[in-house]
């Protein structure tokens, strides 16, 4: 466990650093030895998985930390063979069904049913149910989600589901209504700072509070990112100085440059360049929503206050279409083109007003 993120991850509910009240709630939830299906959601880096694992440990004891990887191969009705990796302990099974792409429905049907249908043998020492942890539920297809809703009810006796996702908006409401929703919000800047400070203290390093604050802000309160940044800082330079460079992820830099390029010039040629850059981002597995969001943030910070509502509205419009469609590049580019038009118009108007 070499990375700080891994090394200093809390393993029990009591040791959680923030949202302590929620941790207490969770503790009391499982105290009776049973709990309903959970839908844990929250932005990336807020500590959802950590909380879930703490919960399981609370429930089953240290045994849940003995993990192994199970390679499952499932044959779909169409004779297609689906290979999927599940992380399992004796008490739970963690699957990311969206790894199977469009065949995720089959994964849910087969894998979860087999787990759910098997009864625990020694119910005296163990719980009566196993836990199936499904990650990235928001990336499941609608089909798979519909499969899930029946499974959830039918095998309530032998299995509990914990669904983990970033946003509930893509989870169909029947599933939402069957689960107890637990929102894990991002830690505040102060909380991120304090976590970093404590980690550095355990490492025997001295972290200047200014730097901690800067890191926390730069990471967007994503704790995972913050810790990695902090560690990267340490690799770059130690002892820390308050104003040292904080390493950034490359794609963010690239995206920022793209946004600047858009603001600097509005022409078809520039649009072609931007298209190339957008393609580049997409091919590096950066999700289109994230690109859109990053772009909008950068663009908003660059444009006049009058334009902001319009730009934001456009962004929402195009992002909605992006979700509906399949070719992200069209929608991203359409947004960029639209922004260019508005921006250009605005600038020209401004120039006219200035001149007359």
């Amino acid at each position: 466990m070499s990375l700080w993120v891994d090394k200093y991850r809390p393993t029990s509910l009591a040791k959680l650093d923030y949202h302590k009240e929620q941790a207490n709630h969770l503790k009391s939830l499982v105290q009776c030895g049973d709990f309903p299906h959970l839908l844990v959601y929250g932005p990336s880096g807020a500590g959802k998985k950590t909380r879930i694992m703490c919960l399981l440990r609370e429930l089953y004891g240290a045994g849940v930390e003995k993990l192994r990887i199970e390679h499952q191969s499932i044959v779909a009705p169409s004779k297609k063979k689906i290979e999927i990796n599940a992380i399992a302990s004796n008490y739970h099974l963690e699957v990311n069904p969206s790894d199977a792409g469009n065949s995720d429905r089959v994964v849910i049907q087969e894998l979860i049913k087999t787990v759910a249908q098997s009864q625990q043998i020694q119910s005296s020492t163990q719980r009566e149910f196993k836990v199936v942890l499904l990650t990235e539920v928001d990336r499941l297809t609608k089909d798979a989600q519909h499969v899930l809703r029946r499974t959830m009810e039918k095998y309530m006796g032998t299995c509990r589901l914990i669904l983990c996702c970033n946003s509930t908006s893509k989870v169909i409401s029947p599933i939402r209504s069957r689960c107890l929703a637990v929102r894990v919000p991002l830690p505040s800047t102060e909380e991120v700072c304090s976590v970093m400070m404590s980690v550095c203290k355990k490492e025997g390093l001295i972290l200047p509070p200014e730097l901690a604050k800067r890191i926390a802000e730069k990471s967007g309160r994503n704790l995972r990112k913050a810790l990695l940044m902090c560690e990267a800082c340490r690799v770059q330079q130690y002892p820390f100085s308050a104003d040292q460079d904080i390493p950034e992820t490359d794609w963010e830099v690239y995206l920022r440059e793209t946004a600047n390029a858009i603001v600097n010039q509005q022409s078809p040629q520039r649009l072609l360049e931007v298209r190339a850059r957008l393609y580049e981002l997409l091919t590096h597995c950066i999700p289109a929503e994230i690109i859109m969001k990053g772009l909008v943030c950068e663009l908003l910070s660059n444009c006049d206050g009058h334009l902001k509502p319009e730009v934001a509205q456009m962004a929402a419009y195009y992002e909605h279409r992006l979700q509906l469609g399949s070719k992200a590049i069209y929608h991203l580019e359409a947004f960029v083109a639209k922004f260019m038009t508005i921006y250009k118009q605005f600038m020209e108007d401004g120039l006219d007003n200035f001149m007359f």
Binding site: D6, K49, L67, V235, E280, C285, G325, A337, T341
Partner: protein, 994 residues
Amino acid sequence: MTRMYIQHTNILRENLSRAEFCILSKQLRKSIKAFKNKIKLRMDEYDEMYGIEDDFEQQFADELEVMAEMDPFPGESPRIGKVSEFRNRKHTFEEALTSADSALTRPDTAAAPEREDDESLTPKAKKRKQDVAKKLHFHEDEDGGEIIPPSSPEEHQRSERTRSGFSLSLSPDRPVAAGTLSVLDISGLEVLQESPKRATTPRHALKRPPASGDFITVTDCTGNRVYLRKNHEQDQQTPDPRFFRNTQNALGLLTVPIEVLREQVSERRHRQLVEESQRLTELLNSGVDPELLVGEVTENTEDENVKACDESSASRLWVDRFAPQHYMELLSDDFTNRCLLKWLKLWDWVVFGRERKPCPPTAESRANSTGAQNQHQNQRFKTKSQITEEILEAELDQYKRPKLKVALLSGPPGLGKTTLAHIIAKHAGYNVVEINASDDRSAELFQKRIDMATQMKSVLGADEKPNCLIIDEIDGAPAAAISVLLATLNRKDSREGGDSTSNPLKKKKKKESVLLRPIICICNDLYTPALRPLRQQAFLLTFPPTQQSRLTQRLAEITRQQGMKADTGSLMALCEKTDNDIRACINTLQFLHGRGRRQLDQRVVNSMSIGLKDQNKGLFSVWQEIFQLPRIKRKRIGGDPFGVFEEAGLKDGSQRLQHIVHLASSSGEHEKLTQGLYDNFLSMKLKDPSLTGVCSGLDWLCFSDLVNECVFHGQNYSLMRYLPFLPAAFHHLFAANSVPRISYPNSHYEGLTKTQHTKNAVVAMLAEIPPSIRSRVCQNNLCLDVLSLLLELICPKLRPVNPQLYSMREKQQLCELIDTMINYNLTYRQERTAEGQYTYVLEPNIEDVVRFPGVPPRRQLTYQVKQLIARETELERMRRVERAQQKRNPQTETVEEVKEVKKPQAKKQTSRNHHQRLENIVKQTVVESKPETDFFGRAVAPKEKPSAHSATDEDGRPGGSRIGKAVGNSDVWFRFNEGVSNAVRRNVYIRELL
């Protein structure tokens, strides 16, 4: 009559030379129309003379086919005759009832009446005889007459026609209609003055297969097919033997012996035939359309038949009706025609060289070709055509064949490729055998058919013309079939060579049926992958588009003939609309004709959407048309002078839109089309400075993406009809006058491959990450947060010196680094660059995943450091694997213990004594100490940890003292002198050193 015919044939055998007889049998295949014509004309005269033979002819007709060129055996022939005697039988029966003289000729009963029939020409019989019989007779006469002139291809056709005419008369309907009137036609020589009820001749040739009963199909040279009904064989067979007996045992009732009579008859007949044939040839040469003949035939027949015939002629496609019959009528490019003909002529040596009799058509066409040659010498051709000429003038190979044994015609549909091939083959004196897409073209069947066509020849049909194989629509044939064809081409060479020396049997066979025949292949797309091998061995002929003027002229002729009014302008417009597709033009005309339109003008042509072909243009041309405004010049073609402006206006508006929509919907590859538009539209010359056009273009793209999504994920295919409007919108937005420069769209594909590459790297990395970490990272997180920073993390500032010289802190840093790398399944792999330098790259190469072009490159470790890390990582991995194995199958307690004792001791020893030199090993112990807490047991782990902590806490380099302390407890130490050669060699394992 049948019987008589057989006798007649006997006589013929005697009288006529063998050759003549063959020709005679050929003549039987003459067209219905000509035949019937003649019936009308000559009925009266010939009745008496040939009446006797009528029946024979009838009965014998089918047998003729079988007999063909062979000598008919008198004994056999009557039995074989398939056409029924039904009518005969009936009549004889009636006759028997009515008259006492003649006995009944029941098939089952006595043979006596037969005798009477044959030999005694009774007046009664004469009276009863019917004109039908005479007609029948008649045909035969004609046939005989026509035979005599030398056989040219045209005459073959004619003979075919007559033959079919003949078979018409055989059909069994007639007896029913003729009914009571007709009796056995006994009176051979008597003349019948009256020609009563001529109109009663029923239809014997059916345009459709009869509903019940057997039938024979007969096809004449023009492709018309008629069906002849068969009667039961029993009927025919029975009378035959009787007949024979009769002929042999003549009763002598005649004053002149029957033989003499027959000779006279045949002589006269001969004369008549000669006359008749002359007349016929005149008729044909004068260019009377076969249609006219058909018309006359229909007039003759009864109402019912008239109707049927009318229908059939109306249902016939004009394309067929007005298909060219001669070389001179061809519409296709002269040069192409000539080239193909010349190529075919190159085969003459092989095909006709050993022919028994010289083929007149060959000479004729030779004359033609020389004429063409002269013409060509006067003209100047392009280089490509010169090449073609050279091929044609090249020498024959050792088998006297042309170098290229296959001609491959290619060109878009409707240019007349198939017609050309057929006509030229016929023109050069070949018998056409066609294989097209409607036939089964699996490899075996294909082979069989090729062999059949090239190595055999028809024996029955009496045309001795060699076959010419035409493989139509070869671009649709499976690759296997084409390789069969190629094999046939090449195999022949070797086999022939081998045969001539070794296998006399086969050689003989070869002599009999000439082995080598020309093959003409026809395709639309010359560049079909399957055709690639064939292309190299074939004489390629690409069809240029038909000349509009010629096509228009032909269309004008057709319209005139059909009574339609059409001016040249509108016909030209039609040609333009169909891209000079002959077939489409004629079909459109027929369609309009069929709908009752007798007038064709410009407006009709323009407003009509039926003439439009569902043409498949290349993607590039589609893109080009979308991005380019139509030229004014193009609009003016075919437009009348005053209508130009009006038309131009139309074209600018809805018509242009319609055109693009049509183009897009017919192209079919919407995905590609859209992608091409997307990739290219920004490089067009865009007029609007405010980018609104671009915006709406992109909005269209988004829209079509949504529609696509709906169509393919929701299976809502009704929405597909909206897809072609995207190109139309793009045309509206971005079309310009200048010629667009279009590049093939590959951005999407490139993007896909790159994404796949990235994903593969990430997945490969994820695969080996231990589960405890694996559960916390997923692909998304890795790409977004972790990887980029991880790359920073694994590049610590390490001094490029020997690791033994590292300070304690540095060593620890190295350990952590290695641990991280192993945990995240990373390692360095040595690679040789193209310049020959060695570098270390990350494996899996997540740098590709993270790196963006244009972003300042991150700091890289030096080669030495990477090497060091690679080695250490490798060592650490080995250690871990070994440990895991030990854990899994633990040895006996004692051994384990001993080892456990020994190992730390060894470690400590080495480190104490060789602290400076064996820095590396020391470091390893440190590395191991961390993860080994559970393995080494509680004794070691707690001790070391606090010490390490304290060490780091105290000062910069506490390592020595710490190790010294730990090592001090042991008695064993180990020393290895590098470079000493007199040492005892033995295997030393790492674990023994640790």
